[in-house]
Symmetry: C2
Subunit: 718 residues, 2 copies
């Protein structure tokens, strides 16, 4: 079932309806009436006959006509009964305003669980609890206290009431863009972020989705949905709770867990989401993406009427990763024709006083610039809109004409213009005209830069999307029965980890490069196994009770003779028992010695919100001292695996350093993909640790492999 | 001579005065008259009798009364003659508006040089050329086109006309703070940044200095002055031209060179300057520092009326390095008494609806918070000022009373409050009241955070200032004659570098740890020298023509016997001649082999703008792959040297890594100071390169030392 009946409801009951003007149950009905909700309103309150001229019902099930949506303003404890009653009536959705659930600890969590269970049994979807409400601006279905919310193409999903108020206020004052829907996500007890996303993706009135997030209940599903959604519509997100204090503060107000921020931010970006760090840029970015075409594989032009702004804009855009390439000779020539001698025409273009008496020069330049096929978008910085204020009043008409021309230019060229104006605060008519055409105008230079940058970022994401390969788990499909057997055995033996040789077998099953090894149980077997190898061998103890093999004297390297193997075997046994007399010893693993190469580390972990994530780093000081590692949420594509390797700060070490040959990056990539596949193929894995992996000019060896099992197995489903 | 006669002039001549309304020479006089300049105005134009009712003079020297200042609006080529004439009259200063000088290449540079020479001969100080002008708002001495500039405590030094316009416009609209002086720095041909700084430091009307800089002619003198100035008054600076495009753009409009940005930013910060990256935060930071007390060794409290803003503020402040400590139990208790049950009182404090009916709660909380001795300042975020708009009109009076109370609280407690308000744009009276008391109010949350952060940054700088040791060059004072001799010899021989043994001798003269070495000229001498050492020795060729000794086979290590030494000596000689048959060979250096240790690199360079800078890094991949180095402008104090070492990303390698003992950081620090002293003691040094320096658990050895001489010796004076 979609969410149409919930978010596009045509009939609403208000439970907790009141005659008292300060009560939410009064205000809600008043708002619905005054904002002309295109549907029926049913006040529910056993103590009243009618409210605001509408007949009042004792309970929802008393209402004769169908009710799609219920707004419940009564306290937490009343909820179970009310929801049961709504169930009888066949209600599709409920907005639960009350707090006092999951965010207040154990008792609240229990109550929350109960109402979710009741809702599920009765096919009711819940928005909240602990939410500011929901709005559908198309239908004037306003279930929030806020009035006069501007209408437009932005669907807002918000985890903080005062952030919603901020964003809506900003839209009313500073923009001509507005909202299609608003959802206060609340405790996310039933309806989750990804379900709203799925709905807004299909809603024809929504052109961009704006999210303020403190924590998510199911980050993994959200990411999977976002991958789909961002192909059709941009998503702009601010995720707060980065800092320890911020996390605490977020935690104390919605009860949401703030996840591993860096991993989250990277995962969001990979899903095509525009992640915003500065809250002041959140609405502008959404406004821009909702109003303007994104930028293709092209450079941006900067048009200024003074060097200072041009320089700062160039700095800022460069920091934001936007390319500002020199303009082609033809375009430079055309600009030179209309600009004074002192002007710069390279990019940034500085009209250098050329607009003082004729601000229409901005439109002239904009036309030349956007007609250049190499220019993908235009950022105008400086005084435009204020020439009439600064120089002569008559220039207002010239500026207004220029605004019309630029507005049409955006439509015709399908390329965006964004304007920074020093005079934005004065609200000259010319700037309102620009906004009318969907050209946003900002007084903060950095905001204008950020907005043109997000158009480029989104364009670049869409372009690269097709280049991404699919996540197909095929290589090891045939091997899965044997793989499952390995895990089953470990579980049966009550182990929470695989033995090294089991881990290696599993990796081998899925096509990973593992070398031959033998599990032996005596000096004689050890010597016989060693004889199977050409060069020197290594012995390693196999015991579930000995986690740190080296500390227990359980690793002997570079053994060259049969004698040596025998002697070392007994040493291992002796030392192991000295280390832990009760250790259960499964045997000793005999392997060929590995060659010299570069040590790297590959590992996976399971995050509470995002599920399995994979880590890659170069061994030794790079990881231990510099924490130079890259994380990705699993599964990863071939492209992601390649990018993980290239993203390491010390990547030069892989490329051949100080005359050493480059190492086999392709082999690393293949191993990352194999590990991704393995984690995706079995639900048992909590953690994998391949440390070290030795990489050669050609190929690699996994020197040690540990796989930790999940404690309480749940059936995961991806 | 100070700049009083220039910047506080009581009489002004306008050369290029005009009757044409669009001309600068008309507007300048009109502005002076209308803004009521407290001094005399003399139009100068040979073709007019009088302008705007003032008698007009043919040339400056025709004016009978004394003239302190001249504003020159005529083109570049007229300048030499006009300045000569001003000289006759004994004028103290001139603002030169015209462009067409240094910023336009070679010819312009020549003309600029000429007018500076004329000015110097005639004791005239020049502001500009290529400047928008100068303003002294105390005296209404307005030599810029801009009108209605708000008066206040900020002295503005600006290298871009439109940035000045931006900042002044921002002040008029959004602030009650204003300006004491404005100087358009222009080409900085004569008067330099540091001279203005020196003046504003002493000006009683100036409480903060605001700078927009694209490039500096003499960064070194500026830094020296800034060290002095920031002890008395805060300096806020935005330095643009970080990016390649930005540099180009800056270059094309003022002809200033953008220096090594990272070094510059670090040097500015060390001089106590508040460096701002985001241009939208530039005026707010200056406004705050000009209006409010800075924050001592204390935590900041956040007061919010909603979780979202509190969380974002906590994140942002943490990113900015500000500590937000949990409040003491006593303060939490006091807050709990006045706030509703759901409120958070830990820090951030969230009143959680406690202000909805009574926004005076903000003042109540502010009083409790600022009376806590552990709280150094307060950031209020959210809706304050808008309760009357959002909830009930009557609340306006409550908010106004609260504003009065908070204003007085700042005065009494000497602790700052900064306010973020969603309703700032609506300009409620309560927020104007806050501004009246010097409490800035911002609609951007990030700006408010940044402003409280700069108060903490400045406070922390002032606190740490006393901890800094002086730069005293004493250790090697006695050795300077011998040091000079070494350089003289190299110069006489036409060399541009010292020999390794000379470099080491020089370092030794100043107390640096250099080991014994012998310069030998035959196998026999080599063997005899080697016999002086107990262990193995190294041989290195000494030749001005062989830069890369190893490539030329000129280094032989670990020689243990007399025979080996002789054999290797001949090899070195043979290989050297094979490498370069014309190489002039001074001999071979015999040194003891150095022990195993950690390799570090110490070097110095000479930057165009900032003079000598020193670099430190850990050898090998850390420097070569990760560019993990720290720069400082020389000279450095003991504290700086210590901090350089601690700032290395891979500092853990020095602290003992993987069971290795820590290396002797004190010895590194001493060597950094020795090198600082050496660079400061001789004007000859262009570059020093100690690579590698081998550091042990105790002490260190300089394995190789290169000192490059300056090409054209100038007498430097620091």
């Amino acid at each position: 079932m979609g969410l149409e009946q919930v978010l596009d409801a045509t009939s609403v009951a208000v439970v907790g309806a009141s005659k008292k003007e300060t009560k939410r149950g009064y205000q809600a009905i008043k708002t619905l009436i005054e904002e002309k909700f295109e549907g029926r309103i049913y006040p529910v309150n056993p103590k009243e006959e009618s409210i605001l001229g509408l007949p009042c019902y004792a309970k929802v099930s008393d209402i004769e006509d169908p009710v799609e949506m219920v707004l419940i303003t009564t306290p937490a404890t009343t909820l179970p009964e009310i929801l049961e009653d709504c169930g009888k009536k066949g209600v599709a959705g409920a907005v639960i305003i009350a707090g006092g659930f999951g965010e207040l600890g154990k008792d609240g969590k229990e109550l929350e669980g109960r109402i979710v269970d009741i809702a599920r049994e009765n096919n009711i979807r819940i928005i909240g609890p602990n939410t500011s409400g929901m709005m559908n601006l198309k239908r004037n279905l306003n279930l929030v206290g806020l009035r006069d919310v501007p209408k437009g193409g932005i669907a807002l999903i918000c985890q903080s009431g005062n952030m919603a108020l901020s964003l809506i206020t900003e839209a009313s004052i500073k923009s001509q863009q507005g909202f299609s829907y608003y959802v206060g996500i609340g405790n996310e007890a039933d309806l989750k972020f990804h379900e709203y996303l799925e709905f807004f993706q299909e809603d024809p009135g929504t052109t961009a989705i704006l999210m303020y997030v403190e924590g998510m209940r199911d980050g993994r599903k959200f990411l999977q949905q976002a991958y789909q959604t961002t192909r059709k519509k941009p998503i702009v997100m601010l995720k707060s709770g980065r800092s320890a204090t911020g996390k605490l503060s977020a935690g104390s107000h919605t009860g949401a867990l703030a996840g591993i921020s860096e991993v989250a931010a990277a995962a969001f970006r990979r899903a095509g989401i525009i992640v915003i760090k500065n809250s002041d840029e959140l609405f502008p970015a959404a406004e821009t993406l909702a109003s303007l075409p994104h930028i293709g594989r092209k450079s941006i032009a900067i048009l200024a009427d003074g060097g200072g702004h041009a320089t700062i804009a160039a700095d800022e855009l460069t920091d934001l990763g936007v390319t500002i390439e020199p303009l082609g000779e033809k375009t430079q020539k055309r600009l030179r024709k209309i600009l004074p001698r002192g002007a710069s025409v390279r990019n940034p273009v500085d009209v250098a006083g050329g607009a003082d008496e004729n601000p229409a020069v901005f439109a002239d330049c904009a036309e030349i610039l956007l007609h250049d096929p190499q220019v993908g978008g235009l950022l105008i910085v400086g005084l435009f809109g204020g020439y009439s204020i600064r120089f002569a009043e008559d220039l207002a008409f010239v500026e207004e004409d220029a605004a019309h021309r630029m507005g049409k230019l955006v439509k015709d060229s399908h390329k965006p213009i964004i304007v920074h104006s020093l005079y934005n605060h004065a609200r000259p008519h010319s700037l309102d005209l620009l906004r009318y055409y969907g050209i946003p105008v900002y007084d903060a230079l950095e905001t204008a830069c950020k907005c043109i940058a997000v158009l480029a970022e989104y364009g670049s994401y869409l372009r690269s999307y097709h280049a991404k390969s699919k996540f197909v788990f095929s290589k090891g499909r045939k091997s899965k029965p044997r793989g499952r057997e390995i895990f089953r055995l470990a579980r049966e033996e009550g182990r929470n980890a695989l033995f090294e040789y089991e881990a290696k077998e599993l990796i081998g099953l899925h096509g990973g490069p593992v070398s031959e090894n033998y599990l032996v149980h005596s000096q004689k077997e050890a010597a016989a196994a060693a004889a199977q190898f050409e060069g020197a061998v290594a012995l390693k103890i196999v015991s579930h009770d000995i986690l740190h093999k080296t500390d227990a004297g359980g690793v002997k390297l570079n053994l060259k003779t049969s004698d040596e193997v025998r002697r070392r075997y007994s040493e291992i046994m002796k030392d192991a028992l000295a280390y832990d007399p009760d250790a259960s010893i499964r045997g000793v693993l005999v392997e060929a010695m590995m060659g010299q190469g570069l040590e790297v580390i590959i590992g996976t972990k399971t995050d509470d919100q995002f599920g399995p994530v994979i880590m890659f780093g170069i061994g030794g000081i790079m990881v231990e001292v510099l924490k130079d590692v890259v994380f990705r949420v699993l599964p990863i594509s071939e492209r992601s695996a390649r990018r993980m390797i290239e993203k390491i700060r010390s990547v030069e070490l892989l490329n051949g350093f100080r005359g050493k040959p480059p190492v086999d990056k392709k082999a690393i990539k293949e191993l990352l993909l194999t590990i991704s596949e393995i984690v995706g193929s079995y639900d048992d894995i909590q953690e994998i640790d391949l440390n070290p992996v030795i990489v050669y000019e050609q190929g690699l060896s996994i020197a040690d492999a540990r796989i930790i099992l999940k404690k309480d197995m749940k059936i995961s489903n991806w």
